[in-house]
Amino acid sequence: MKNDLENTIKIFHGPQHPGITGNMSVELDLLGETIKRAQTHVGYLHRGFEKLVERRTVVQAFTIVCRICVPEPDPNEENFARAVENLTGLEISEKAKYIRTMVLEMQRLATMFLWMGGQAGSIGLGLIPQWSVCDRDYMLDLFEELTGGRVYHMYAFPGGVRRDLPEGFLSRLSDLLDYYEKRIIVYNNTFFDNIIFKKRAIGVGIVNADDVIKNAYVGQVMRGCGIKKDVRKDMPYLMYDKLDFDIPVQSDGDVYARALVRRDEMLQSIKILRQIIKQMPSEGDILQKIPKHRKFKLPADDTYVQTESARGAMSYYMAGDGSEKIRRMQVRGPSLVHAYTLLEKLLVDSQLSDVAMTMNSLGICPPEIER
């Protein structure tokens, strides 16, 4: 190892780099273009969320938790809301559960489109980002109509959701899903079946299936190795136990397998959303009234909740102390282990050309690593 590192040059892949997934950096020791050692550096986006949350009441903290992961804020809101509900024993109505499930699946679709842009951009296929980011925008329009926010929704409040569905929303969602189904065929032809994407992605960034379980790799990394696990099925929350969907798996464990898993998950999300549109109850409370909003107290207890985000299981640990403030909220997103333990391992002996592609396929989101 020491001898290998003797003649290397050290470069920083990021934080100012077009090929990095957000504001982070990977320190690479290169021999030619082969990477001999990789080390991840984060902290460029550290805001101290966990400290900020400790200084705020539940209602105040609710507005900032969605900022924890920028590309997909909704799993954060869901986790936060569910943790508070677990601690205080709030029950939410069936309609609110359906709406929350719907928002989560919509967010999953939107994130997948953004990922597709990044993944195609990392191999220089400039056409796909242009299309897919635009397609994602149509979903953001629906979000805006539903919640009032394009990116940050602040929607899943402890005890339900903040607002009822607008009139005719479900039919508009249904139209968009029709459009997406057509588009996914186009993407399949231009991107997933693209000969150059196949040539570059197959056999690159192979994750060992034995490591997956022990090292707590989650999401598409796990399912790309043929392990059929998903929080939505294993520890069902909201309405997922009443919905019919599959968990797509691939067995190769490389970048291409993860891409295919994501493509199939998009189709599954569309399937779930169609069921929700059909089953959505027309009547029902959307938000359970919390007595004394400002003096809403959390009991001295702790809980741990998990949600399947678009990149894997995202967990929150939350503890109250009998006062209005939250004693401790710790976020454990999928990126933490992926960006450190996994990425540092995968990049060794790969090429510089593979760095951006590998990072994108792991779904690394820097703001969630360091909060």
Partner: protein, 203 residues
Amino acid sequence: MIELISKLEKLSLELVQKQDYLYKVEVKKEQLESLLLSFLNEFGYITLDSINCRDDLEEGNFVITYCLLTPKRDHVVMVQTSIERENASLPSIHTFWPQAEIMEREMHEMFGVDFPGHPTLIDFALEYWDNIPPLRRDFDTLQYVNDMNPFRGQRDDALDAKVEMKKKREAKKAAKLKAEQEAAAKAELETQNNPSQEVQNEE
């Protein structure tokens, strides 16, 4: 699950069910490493999902929670222990779980917990930090911010929000009162002028 309860009872530990998929077991610090090892090797909880730390300043200890999963991933077991706040240190478990390395590094930086035997206790998110570890509750972030990074001053023509709010509220109240009085007076006047109005409206 019953199997696990009986196994833990042998070690005189109690498994508490917290939620549908959530169990918790509390141990002493001395027992922690051996218990985690037996969770890994004997009970089949081979996934370490996260290590969480909580600062109980009033009791003077840190509460550390290890969240473990089986390969089935259908429930979470929280192994909880509390350690002294002063000179806090824990055995490092990065040899059992590689991902613990980064989690412990983060905990070291944010809480100042020491991990003897940990290979890379370097900076995680902060850079050149020389204050109390920031997530300890005796670190006052507002004080720190005011020292480092003062607020933007107001404009010269800015108004005091509290006074303005009060004024607005009073004005609103006065306006409401006035409107009510006017409405009452008007109604009274109308009923006096044409008493047949109500009948007409009903038609």
